[in-house]
Symmetry: D2
Subunit: 361 residues, 4 copies
Amino acid sequence: DYHERLKNWLLYAQSQDITCAGALTDAKGNRALPPSMQKDPDLNLRVVEVRDDGIVVRGAKCMICGVAAANEIFCLPGGAYKEADKDYAVAFVVPKDIEGLTIVETRRPSDMREYEEGFDIPNDIGGITQAYLLFNDVFVPKERVFMCGEYKYCLNVIQYFTSTYRAAIGGCVAGQGDLKVGASIIMARANGLSIRTFYDKLIRMQINNETTFGMGVAASALGKEHPSGCWLCDSLLANSNKVHVATLPYETNRLAQEIAGGIGETGCLPSYKDIMDPKYGSLIKKYVEAGLDWETRARGARLVEWLTLGPGVPGCMHGGGSPDAARLMIRVSTPWEKWVELAKRVGGIKADVPEPPKPKK
Amino acid sequence: DYHERLKNWLLYAQSQDITCAGALTDAKGNRALPPSMQKDPDLNLRVVEVRDDGIVVRGAKCMICGVAAANEIFCLPGGAYKEADKDYAVAFVVPKDIEGLTIVETRRPSDMREYEEGFDIPNDIGGITQAYLLFNDVFVPKERVFMCGEYKYCLNVIQYFTSTYRAAIGGCVAGQGDLKVGASIIMARANGLSIRTFYDKLIRMQINNETTFGMGVAASALGKEHPSGCWLCDSLLANSNKVHVATLPYETNRLAQEIAGGIGETGCLPSYKDIMDPKYGSLIKKYVEAGLDWETRARGARLVEWLTLGPGVPGCMHGGGSPDAARLMIRVSTPWEKWVELAKRVGGIKADVPEPPKPKK
Amino acid sequence: DYHERLKNWLLYAQSQDITCAGALTDAKGNRALPPSMQKDPDLNLRVVEVRDDGIVVRGAKCMICGVAAANEIFCLPGGAYKEADKDYAVAFVVPKDIEGLTIVETRRPSDMREYEEGFDIPNDIGGITQAYLLFNDVFVPKERVFMCGEYKYCLNVIQYFTSTYRAAIGGCVAGQGDLKVGASIIMARANGLSIRTFYDKLIRMQINNETTFGMGVAASALGKEHPSGCWLCDSLLANSNKVHVATLPYETNRLAQEIAGGIGETGCLPSYKDIMDPKYGSLIKKYVEAGLDWETRARGARLVEWLTLGPGVPGCMHGGGSPDAARLMIRVSTPWEKWVELAKRVGGIKADVPEPPKPKK
Amino acid sequence: DYHERLKNWLLYAQSQDITCAGALTDAKGNRALPPSMQKDPDLNLRVVEVRDDGIVVRGAKCMICGVAAANEIFCLPGGAYKEADKDYAVAFVVPKDIEGLTIVETRRPSDMREYEEGFDIPNDIGGITQAYLLFNDVFVPKERVFMCGEYKYCLNVIQYFTSTYRAAIGGCVAGQGDLKVGASIIMARANGLSIRTFYDKLIRMQINNETTFGMGVAASALGKEHPSGCWLCDSLLANSNKVHVATLPYETNRLAQEIAGGIGETGCLPSYKDIMDPKYGSLIKKYVEAGLDWETRARGARLVEWLTLGPGVPGCMHGGGSPDAARLMIRVSTPWEKWVELAKRVGGIKADVPEPPKPKK
Ligand SMILES: Cc1cc2nc3c(=O)[nH]c(=O)nc-3n(C[C@H](O)[C@H](O)[C@H](O)COP(=O)(O)OP(=O)(O)OC[C@H]3O[C@@H](n4cnc5c(N)ncnc54)[C@H](O)[C@@H]3O)c2cc1C
Ligand SMILES: Cc1cc2nc3c(=O)[nH]c(=O)nc-3n(C[C@H](O)[C@H](O)[C@H](O)COP(=O)(O)OP(=O)(O)OC[C@H]3O[C@@H](n4cnc5c(N)ncnc54)[C@H](O)[C@@H]3O)c2cc1C
Ligand SMILES: Cc1cc2nc3c(=O)[nH]c(=O)nc-3n(C[C@H](O)[C@H](O)[C@H](O)COP(=O)(O)OP(=O)(O)OC[C@H]3O[C@@H](n4cnc5c(N)ncnc54)[C@H](O)[C@@H]3O)c2cc1C
Ligand SMILES: Cc1cc2nc3c(=O)[nH]c(=O)nc-3n(C[C@H](O)[C@H](O)[C@H](O)COP(=O)(O)OP(=O)(O)OC[C@H]3O[C@@H](n4cnc5c(N)ncnc54)[C@H](O)[C@@H]3O)c2cc1C
């Protein structure tokens, strides 16, 4: 009755307006080995006890985004498992303050500046955090458990999750990209230059944004309905998008820094405190002023820094899974032999085109 | 009553199963000047006489695809015109054998091989042609004229056409890409190698294919209905796609050649005639044979050549308009100032961020 | 007698083992205007008084690298100037503690961590700083002045400097790149994976390193001797290299993050302080351990963060001038018309191929 | 006394001004197997008989460049061989008309046009050809044999050859690139546009040219003298250059086509014969004329076609070995563990960083 339990929790979550962090990534330990072969069995989150009224879990979920702002945490298995790993096939949801759960936030670039006065962190209306969740024998009541041992379905869970994530992330990254475009134009003008000077670079940035956005739209548009009523995005398109999401924003960042100048590249600007210094601050202001007032230029530069080198850098490379994991999915989802048949037809090739036999050693 | 005329022709065309070539591109002459300022007024197709029962047109439409296979030719204005160019604002449809129209086919790479025996052109089930259409005072009856002087609407025509084209071409180019993937796998195996040797390159090719396909889907999915009932694709997405269509297939081609080996790169293989030579042909066959039989390898190599250097190379760079024309549309369609506002909000910038005043000379 | 003065200072500097920071970049103000047309004449460093025994200068040099570690500061003009800007044509060298000079260090990513205990800044044997140098009516004695008003030679100064810089920086960036390769391999192994898993990415990184290194070597090897005995690097090669230096390290960074995993991408790891916490620190250690011990993995991750998002990111984009400045030099140094002649010869073109006449407005 | 024989032949070749083609590439057959394990032992060139006065060889050398223009052919082993393949470790030089040698030229794109009148092949002062050399029991006299069975030295031969080739090819490809730049400017002007319209693209092309040129220079400059007196290029730089040589010209080609317009992209222009047609030729001429006379534009378009899709396309991808062969050499030549040590030092890592143990199956 997992389906029933899940529906109940969903209704409850909606009625209480629950915000939820999604936790898949385990500590994992040695990446070359499955959970059950790790030196320490806790390196992936696992069921250590099954009771009548629920289960007890131990392990860690790492780099989980948005925990600070969430009410509850939804845990899912971190990989596709075989029978030996069936204790790791576990899904459940818990409130953040449950007993036995320790939450440790990770660092992010320039994080300490958030404790400083002024705009060296330009942004106080947003930002993201990631947490390590240490589950030290946490008890989860039955009605909040949605998988427990059904290892065969882990692959499904992962694929349903990643194809949705890798479609949706395209729009998210595009929005950040729009912001980078805006910040770049601000810097151009603050430097005294027109948007026209940089159209070639801005258009390149915009194409990058449209690409991750568009690929996400396409993956959704060509998705299929699951019997349960859920919409599942197209795997090939969603995973191709993941590769773009892990690549294009780096080019967009580079172009933002190119437009901004050295002041934005490494945040190469005195601190807010220095700028406000009663003795020499006015001199700094005088020299930071350019096409627009000093404050706009300084804030713009800090925004570019924040977006490209600071705490505003999202985990677009690995969030939602590594690009090589996406490439693997593309490999699995592409109908290679169909393309071979197509090419045979156009090329007038009649013979079979089999894989070479495995060489004997 | 253009709309009525067009509907009538459409009904007629459907009932007769008419195939149509679309002709926009004029000879154009000097690209820096509008039609009316060219040395020769005929360099863009124009109305030279308006009669009661129709119009007389003169000029040339160049590089028109599919004329050989078409029944009729649909001419549209080649650019967005101002009042001075209103004679050039003309749209109509004519049968291919109309009086005064000379059709000259253009060349394509390795075209003469199509007259040879054998598989040096691997493909006899497809191929494209382009034509120069020389209109030497062609009379077009009234009911086949859909625009004549309404220069203000040329921009609309162009945009409706290009946003549809630049969405649709993504799927077209993706299909060619699938073929290139298939041809590459054939060559790998014909060389004795497994598909596994080249997965990284093949996945890159596949991502390219998915990208132009997906962007086209997205442009369609996010299109809007025109009051006439037509569906108009999203301009930003369609034009971003045009830039991909003009770029990614070149990388796909390069990878196909990389996988195929020198034999595919420049078609570096003796001719069919040499291979079939009674004296030394058997020796060539002996040496062309590798992982698969000589014929599969030779045909596969010719297919790669055909697709990447031969008559199978489509005009993905300029067909449907040049990439810089698409970039211009992106420039015009992007809400730059909205991104500035977004960045101001996130960066805590209160001041105005205007364009710098034009410098006085 | 500038040459004599310079020689004397050089001998002195060598005998005293003087380390020197090079300061070209002015505050500049509005980038669209030359120094003399700025709202505030001090926005570029200028001579405000010429005395018998020396000169008095005012203005700011910004983002100057290595000032903290330098004994003296060598100032050069920041651009190529016309007659109206001749007060800005000034070159001199001063000790760091000269009267009237205020030095304000700029920020860099994650800078506050340098004040923390532990390895969240992994590195205490290196690092770079940049400073704003505020010259508030600084007197420079005659024998330390090497240019004063000779505006015609500013272009030479800039070109001699940039072609040397843009050659040499290639090796510098390559060395950082080698470090990134090393850090990536450490992370692979710390994650339990073999170097073999990532050879394609590592080889790409290495090619990037070899490219900036090689182009720098080539620019030097094909340089020419200046009559003074100095060696001047080849401008086309050095400036082409600058474009690589501003591009390739971004790809190298991206690949390092791809190999390292999320832990390296955004430094997504609890702080040293948390890891050392007596209560839950041991749990974090348990979960950070993977292929190698927790400390190697944590330090490796911080190293990747430091190199790609932290204070170890050098200013390779703008340091030594912006890429567009380099592109401008390439434009100026390339013999375009010679390539036209070459193409005419090979293409059998006999006619002249002139630029089109400027269109009249 | 191979060294003595080689010296003698070199003196003879110089005195007679002998031009030589270099033949390494064998037919190879199945790429996954060494010569001695092929179905047919002749798939790599081999010694079938050793006599007192010389040797008899059988097999084929494929895709050999410049045979048509050469006096003699210098054969070298095509790979690094083990003992089992020692019959394939053979090097010698023969005149082109030696008994038992059949030479079959390969095709190249649009080759038949060379037999046509006019400029559809724009170029009659150059061009390259490749040949299949079929050695059917060819006798080579002793004094022209320089290796026969010394399989251990094959790797050296290959490496000496490839590092020189992969350095030198950079300059060759750069020269072709200069030509592409020139042809692009001609097309811009022939279309009525100024070089200024395309500076961003032309500069990108020029950087590509400078890169392969510069890397070649660097590989030579940092080469080392072999005890024999030969100069051996730096392997890392030369092989990195091979990867550029196999990549950058494709971008340069794409940009040339982008600048030229559809007329250059696929050679989308009526044939010379059509242009000269007494009936409608004058109309074509009228419509081909644009910024410059029709002939310059037509010849320019054919030149772009020739360079990017025609017989002027050199084998830069596979000539001198495939890019993956170069990547393998980079892998072998890079001091990976040295970069690890470097990173350990900077990152303060004290522990060993070994490769993970091979997993047991
Ligand atoms: C900012 C940020 C936010 C995140 N938010 C969340 C979140 O909200 N919820 C959540 O569940 N997770 C989250 N993650 C974690 C993310 O899902 C993981 O980073 C991602 O799945 C990759 O795992 P990893 O970081 O452990 O990398 P690793 O698994 O260590 O991978 C590192 C590299 O090694 C490769 N690799 C790994 N194993 C193998 C193997 N066996 N063979 C070959 N190659 C291999 C990978 O492809 C990758 O290139 C976040 C990450 C970041 C950086
Ligand atoms: C294979 C193929 C099939 C085609 N099929 C069709 C078809 O079926 N129907 C049809 O109507 N057309 C067709 N075309 C033509 C195609 O639409 C044109 O090639 C395209 O619009 C570009 O025009 P052009 O070739 O005249 O290039 P040009 O206009 O000469 O452009 C060349 C370059 O100059 C730039 N440029 C041009 N003018 C300016 C300016 N004023 N300022 C700055 N830059 C400028 C362009 O951006 C481009 O980079 C086809 C083309 C090809 C190659
Ligand atoms: C880490 C770091 C270290 C540095 N170290 C030193 C040092 O040791 N010594 C030193 O002298 N300098 C140093 N610099 C400064 C460096 O030389 C400058 O950053 C560089 O010259 C660019 O100047 P800018 O930053 O003022 O950028 P800007 O001049 O503001 O340029 C920003 C962008 O605008 C473009 N642009 C500028 N003006 C125009 C125009 N008129 N028309 C069109 N486009 C234009 C530029 O090409 C660039 O893309 C350093 C910079 C950094 C980031
Ligand atoms: C225009 C041109 C001119 C040439 N001129 C000359 C010349 O003058 N003299 C001369 O000797 N040669 C010449 N060559 C041949 C050239 O050296 C070869 O093309 C090159 O060495 C690659 O060999 P191949 O073409 O047989 O490709 P293949 O060996 O078939 O390789 C095809 C692809 O498979 C990969 N591959 C091959 N084997 C393996 C394997 N075992 N495992 C994994 N991957 C593998 C390759 O890396 C490549 O990506 C020329 C080639 C061309 C195209």
